[in-house]
Amino acid sequence: MDRISTNLPNDNMQFFLRERQKMMEQAQNQIASQSRIQNLRDDPLAASHATRYRSYTARLERYSDNIQTVQERNRIAEGRVQEATDLLQRARELAVQGAHGTYAPEDLEHMAVEVEQIIEQMVEIANSRGSDGTTIFAGDRSQQLPFRALRGMRAGGEQEMVTEVQYRGTINPQSAEVGENSYIQTNFMGNQVFWAENQRIQSRTDAGDYQVNQDGSFSIDGVEIEVREGDNAYSIIQKINESGAAVRARLDPVYNSMVVESTTPHQVWMQDQPGSTVLQDLGLINGGDGRAPENIAPSARRSGGSVFDALINLRDQLAAGDQEAVGGRGIQAMDQSLDNMLTTLGRIGAVNARLEGAFERTEMEIPEVIAQDSRNTDVDLAEAVMELRQLESTHRAALGVSARIIQPTLLDFLR
């Protein structure tokens, strides 16, 4: 431009002043808020990543929380199971002593009384509550006591004793999310923890010619199994065995009837779904509104009891002075109960160890993600302050120069 009009230097000075002030304000805002991103336009892709980092961090913190909650529940349950194990050890000692044959009937009677106390204590442990007031071993019926002790007078006894302990909880597993799409069970079923023997339910109804007459389904241990019209006993057996429930089905050779056995010690629950009568027709459960576990058909035989059944039997054997029974079935039942309890303890320990690992990993990941987010969006303070200083000094220089450019005109020199 060869010719400079009078307004041009003025306009230019304003233009560049405005630009520099914009830059200074942006630098100031960045320093004040510690964030490189004042508006999304400052770095759209970094902002987009930042939303993912922040959400992920929140999720990781939730997982960390959940892990600690589950570990806490597990520790409390572990403590209780440990107490129960100690009680069972004591009962086993009593059984061994009672089987000696060196004790008089009165001593055996005293042992029976002690076993009765053990039973009461065991019921208390089984009905114990966790730190939030919910029962530990009730499945998901967590506001009610899982075990109900029925009492009655024993023949020859002076006071009421426990005759039966029934399980009143449920078998629904509850889970908590401890990692991305990774769940872990949080609750305990009383009829697994406090069980002694494998349960077997044997029907007496001949199943040889049985055929299902309409599509339906039934559930065993909460696992739903579908049957189609025309299925016979063999296909039902195969479906049960492949279903993933912890049971095995077979045909009894004597009665040609269905037998359902558990593969690990627990109480087997069977239920027909609404609209289907398969289990009822096979003679395993009775019809009507009966709920598991009380819905076993009267004609079917059920065997395999809980820890309470074992203790009650031991007490009765001791009270009756039946030393052979004590030494035989009594000790065997104690051993089986202990075995199952120790298995449970082992499982809880293993789960907690796994959770410990998960917790450490999560706790390490959280600061890493936060660091990545920070690298992404935080401002480098040293750099920003230096830039601000530089802008300030150029600003002063520019203002000084502008003042001189707004120079005198010819008017000042004419007379």
């Binding site: 306009d11 999304l40 930042a50 959400s55 998901d140 909460g222």
Partner: protein
């Protein structure tokens, strides 16, 4: 023969000419800071000399000059540069308006901070996690309720902010159209005045300056070009149409468009056709209102309607601790009342359309199973990608269910497909590509083969007779009906208004937090108090690939939203800086050519002053000479 008084006449001409030159210099000086002023120069030229070769020519040396006259007063202006400036000014105005509003839109999102909708939604899912761990406690239900309400408020606030910006844009469109109309009228009036002045032989410099200024102002509103090759008809065009043609003005009209939520269209007054703006602030505003803001509101609606639907799906199957089931967690207020989705679109009192948002099949499908069928599905799509708004999506026997679903989702149709939690095929409508179609309405569903009918269990019949069409009432009769052994195909009715603006937590749940579902049923009975599986499943919506419009997970949706608006902002800021620089360079150049330099004017002033003095001196000399002849000779 020379006239006696020709000397005085000469001097007089000199004085007058220099006076006029001084006047013009003074005009320049006083207008140095006037906007749009171009400096004027007086062109002095010698008057016609005497004598021409004519009969009464005296016999002496000629031609004798007769003094000075002002040939013309012209303004120093580069008209070609003006044309470039008009274009650059339209650009700058477009980007400046766009930048301003996009910045407002960015700020609505409140990212990356802790009070954004994303953060509220994270806390909402967290509430369900907490409920799944402690389903017996009332406190965890209250927490879910409060966070749900906070989320709804956050979404509604974002909707209201976007809506408010849209209203502001609408107001600005109307204001700018009014301004443009008055400028157009003024230019036409000036044209008349200028042609009159030119017809009289004068240079209407100041009027021309004024007209150029008005044209500059008009170029900020819309993209124009200028044609002044014909001196009697100064024309201003936009997109090939005349706005001003000499003294004829063609202003704009504003008409409310019911198909576009009552927002206005800008039309030509004389024939009612819509005007296409491609630049200037009107171009930017219309684009912002009808594309950018509409997209943002649509994306927000998509997120709201999908989250509502996903949560409600699980919640309806779940049980509260009071044993109640079948309740929605989120509802829309007001709801479209007809359960079949029938709607009276043209407001004439009878149902004429069906507004269905989602259909589910009756059969559980397996993603990896080969379908073994072939045929073509007809799905609704925008009219710019499919003829007549219907897009054909084929499927073949060797495709797996997953392949078919992916093909539907990538086809560009206005639907998405997925398998819901029971494995049933679910087809949901998305926002409509065409502005005239309603959002979230399944406009057409047809299958020539058996995939949608027998295999997935959505439609009752194949082919044209079994198609679900929205332009008739009771379209849901085309869906597979109930039989003795199973239920019919499930469907959900479309929201009438923007879901994000009208969603709320179900008032029944607000009244009774115990109805918040946490458990699932076991063998037909309500779940136990300690069962939190439903809550856990709702919480898992957060990071599952559930299909929010085109995004897979909610994380993707939020990240995409931020990136989209941030990139628009980055682009507009960059473009604004560039166009500002370009405009500045051009206006600086114009200043250089047409601007007043005070020193230069003062120097000119001195020059003309001397000239004036010299002419005055000359007159007094001639006067003295005449005095000698008249008064001194022969007395």
């Amino acid at each position: 023969m020379q006239s006696t008084f020709s000397g005085i006449e000469l001097g007089k001409r000199g004085i007058l000419a220099h006076q006029q030159a001084l006047q013009t210099t003074g005009h320049n000086l006083t207008n140095a800071s006037s906007e749009g002023y171009s400096r004027q120069r007086v062109q002095l030229q010698a008057t016609l000399p005497l004598y021409r070769p004519q009969l009464n020519r005296p016999e002496r040396a000629g031609q004798v000059g007769q003094g000075v006259e002002v040939a013309r007063i012209e303004r120093v202006r580069d008209e070609l540069l003006d044309g470039r400036i008009i274009t650059a000014s339209g650009d700058q105005s477009y980007w400046e308006t766009r930048d301003r509003y996009i910045l407002q839109m960015e700020q609505v999102y409140n990212e990356v901070g802790d009070s954004s909708v994303r953060n509220l939604m994270d806390r909402f899912w967290d509430g369900w996690q907490e409920l799944s761990l402690y389903p017996e406690q009332r406190a965890s239900r209250e927490a879910v309720l409060q966070r749900g309400q906070a989320l709804v408020e956050g979404i509604q606030l974002r909707f209201k902010n976007l809506d408010r910006i849209r209203d502001m844009v609408e107001q600005e469109i109307r204001g700018n159209v009014d301004q443009a109309n008055s400028l157009i009228q003024d230019i036409a009036d000036l044209n008349r005045e200028i042609t009159n002045v030119k017809a009289a032989g004068d240079e209407p410099n100041d009027l021309l300056d004024r007209r150029d200024l008005l044209v500059d102002r008009l170029s900020e509103h819309l993209d124009i070009t200028v044609d002044d090759r014909d001196p009697d008809e100064f024309s201003v065009y936009t997109a090939g149409y005349h706005i001003v043609q000499g003294r004829i003005a063609r202003p704009f009209d504003i008409e409310a468009n019911q198909q576009n939520e009552g927002f206005s269209d800008v039309t030509w007054s004389h024939n009612g056709e819509r005007v296409q703006f491609r630049g200037g602030n009107l171009g930017a505003l219309l684009e912002l209102r009808d594309q950018d803001l509409r997209t943002e509101i649509q994306e927000l609606d998509t997120m709201a309607v999908n989250v509502m639907d996903l949560v409600n799906e699980v919640h309806r199957d779940g049980y509260g601790i009071n044993g109640r089931t079948g309740q929605d967690f989120f509802t829309e207020y007001p709801a479209i009342l007809n359960a079949q989705g029938n709607y009276d679109r043209n407001q004439d009192g009878t149902f004429d359309s069906s507004y269905v948002f989602r259909v589910n099949g009756t059969n559980s499908l397996d993603l990896q199973a080969q379908i073994g069928l072939s045929g073509t599905m007809s799905l609704p799509a925008g009219s710019d990608i499919a003829e007549g708004g219907i897009l054909d999506v084929p499927y073949r026997a060797a495709d797996t269910v997953e392949d078919v679903i992916a093909r539907v989702n990538n086809s560009g149709a206005d639907v998405t497909a997925r398998l819901n939690r029971e494995g049933q095929l679910e087809i949901k409508a998305t926002t409509a590509r065409d502005r005239s179609q309603p959002d979230f309405v399944l406009r057409h569903l047809e299958d020539s083969g058996q995939f949608l009918t027998g295999y997935a269990g959505i439609l009752a019949e194949s082919g044209d007779e079994g198609a679900l069409r929205w332009d008739q009432p009771d379209a849901v009769l085309a869906l597979r009906g109930e039989t003795a052994t199973r239920q019919g195909a499930d469907f959900a009715v479309a929201p009438l208004m923007h879901p994000s603006g009208w969603m709320e937590v179900n008032p029944a749940v607000v009244r009774e937090p115990a109805a918040i579902a946490s458990s699932f049923s076991v063998a037909g009975e309500p779940g136990e108090t300690g069962d939190g599986r439903a809550a856990l499943e709702i919480a898992s919506i957060r990071n599952s690939a559930v299909g929010i419009g085109r995004a897979d997970t909610l994380d993707d949706y939020f990240a995409d939203t931020v990136a989209r608006i941030g990139l628009k902002g980055e682009e507009s800021e960059q473009a604004l800086n560039t166009s500002e620089r370009i405009l500045k360079d051009l206006t600086d150049l114009r200043q250089s050519i047409s601007g007043v330099n005070i020193d230069e004017e003062l120097a000119e002033m001195i020059k003309f002053q001397h000239g004036y003095q010299a002419a005055a001196r000359f007159i007094s000399n001639i006067d003295q000479m005449l005095d000698t002849i008249i008064n001194r000779m022969g007395v």
